[in-house]
């Protein structure tokens, strides 16, 4: 079988135009409730001229994912290609994964009894979940399974400037390198935002 390398997201700060299209694509395409934001566009150095830029972040599908380590139910599983998924049937909605996550990725609806947190939801890299692939249940609980369909995840697919890209690590790094070279910056001189935290030893 084809051996995957790790799947990674990369958002190019030189290209992101803060249009929030990825957020909307994810929200609508995965039929998420309003209070769930799997992907969010955030702005750095807001208001500082020349230094302001935006990035789109979601779950980074970390190496040794801290969320999976702290989960008291151990309902996470990490696919061979590095995609971090979890089982919503087992999840108790305790919120610990959110506290462990560097990127604020885990999301919680307030639909538990007495307005307590419901079960966790986060970016699946559009790879569905543990329910049978393409089943009604998978779609309802986890959203689309575009990876199984051989398609690019929704958010990256719709990004009009190709700022947001996703793929196996080598491929993504290759693209970053080419872009930096084209800019005349020479070699890749810094790790993309958050990679040092999400993939510390790679």
């Amino acid at each position: 079988m084809y051996k995957y390398s790790r799947m990674k997201f990369y958002c190019d700060e030189n290209r992101c135009i803060n249009c929030h299209g990825c957020e909307v694509a994810c929200q609508v395409g995965n039929d998420l409730p309003v209070d769930i934001a799997r992907r969010k566009v955030i702005t750095f150095n807001e208001g500082i001229e020349g230094k302001e830029y935006s990035l789109s972040i979601s779950c980074m599908h970390c190496t040794d994912a801290p969320c999976a380590q702290v989960c008291p139910v151990q309902c996470f599983y990490i696919r061979e290609d590095g995609i971090v998924l979890h089982d919503k049937d087992k999840c108790i909605g305790c919120g610990y994964c959110l506290y462990a996550c560097p990127f604020g990725a885990p999301q919680f609806p307030k639909d538990g009894a007495f307005g307590t947190r419901g079960v966790m939801d986060k970016c699946t890299m559009c790879a569905g979940g543990p329910a049978p692939t393409f089943s009604e249940k998978e779609k309802r609980l986890y959203g689309q399974n575009r990876i199984a369909e051989g398609k690019v995840p929704l958010c990256a697919a719709m990004c009009s400037t190709n700022a947001l890209i996703v793929g196996d690590a080598e491929h993504v790094s290759q693209i970053i390198r080419e872009r930096r070279m084209a800019h005349g910056h020479g070699v890749l001189d810094e790790t993309p935002y958050g990679w040092d935290i999400a993939y510390p030893n790679e």
Binding site: A37, K40, I42, T43, F44, N45, I57, P66, Q69, V70, P72, V73, Q74, C75, D89, K90, C91, I92, G93, C94, G95, Y96, L98, Y99, A100, C101, P102, F103, G104, F108, K110, G112, A113, F114, G115, T116, R117, V119, Y193, G194, I197
Partner: protein
Amino acid sequence: MSKLASMLSTIMILFPGVAMATPDIIRQQLPQSVPHYWKWGSLFVNLQVNYFKVFFLVALLAIIIIEFLHFVIIGPKKFRESGKKIRVYNLFVRIVHWTAALSFTLLVPTGLIIVFSKFFGGDGFVRAMRSLHFIGAILFAISVVPLFFMWVLHMLPEEGDIRWFMVGGGYLTKKEVETGAGRFNPGQKIWFWIATVFGTLLFLTGFLMYLRKPNFVIPFVKYQIDALRLAAITHNLIAVIVLIMFLVHLYMSLFAVKGSLKSMITGYKDEEELKYMHSSFYEKIKHKLNE
């Protein structure tokens, strides 16, 4: 009214974040809080992965073993029934006590089930236990205020308390010793302070986790996600202490002194028990009894 308004505005000036409340502060703070992760984020992961479960398990097993040994070796204290019953708890006190007791009886086991939810398989059962934990927390919040005020004056340190510690509370021997304790013994006093003060801290940290996205900045903590992490850390650490003291209190009232449970139900204690287990208190009320 204007006084209240000026008080509120003072608070807002002291904590500017309160005034600038917007719904998703976690999200807004991401640019700054992500690089800051190594502080409280890593600490939470480390504690949750390596320590919390161990703390709870060790505390639970150690206390159960100690209590079992005490029960086998020394056994419950039985006092000769003089037949003379003295009213020590009025109806109000008993109702408040039992509301608080019910809240802890809900909170402690459900809290432990959440901690060990892998063992219980997660899923709907543990989610239901989380709901019960929340109900317990509301019951606690209702009962803690009257509980605190009805007993706080009796729970301050007294002279006889030293003697109580010297004789191990009278629990370390089968013999009947005068312990020197007043209306409440120092053990009960310690439990009172832990239950009310630490219980309130548990309620506040738990409430923060309940809100999950509180739309106000928590004073003294820079990033809201860190406030949640600190809440989870504090909640777990304090819960270990409360768990220990709760189990001790449970054992004392159910097994260590015969009739102890009955007294909180009926409100009456036997004169013989008071004479020894609360001897200073007994000295004080003795003259009234003989009238």
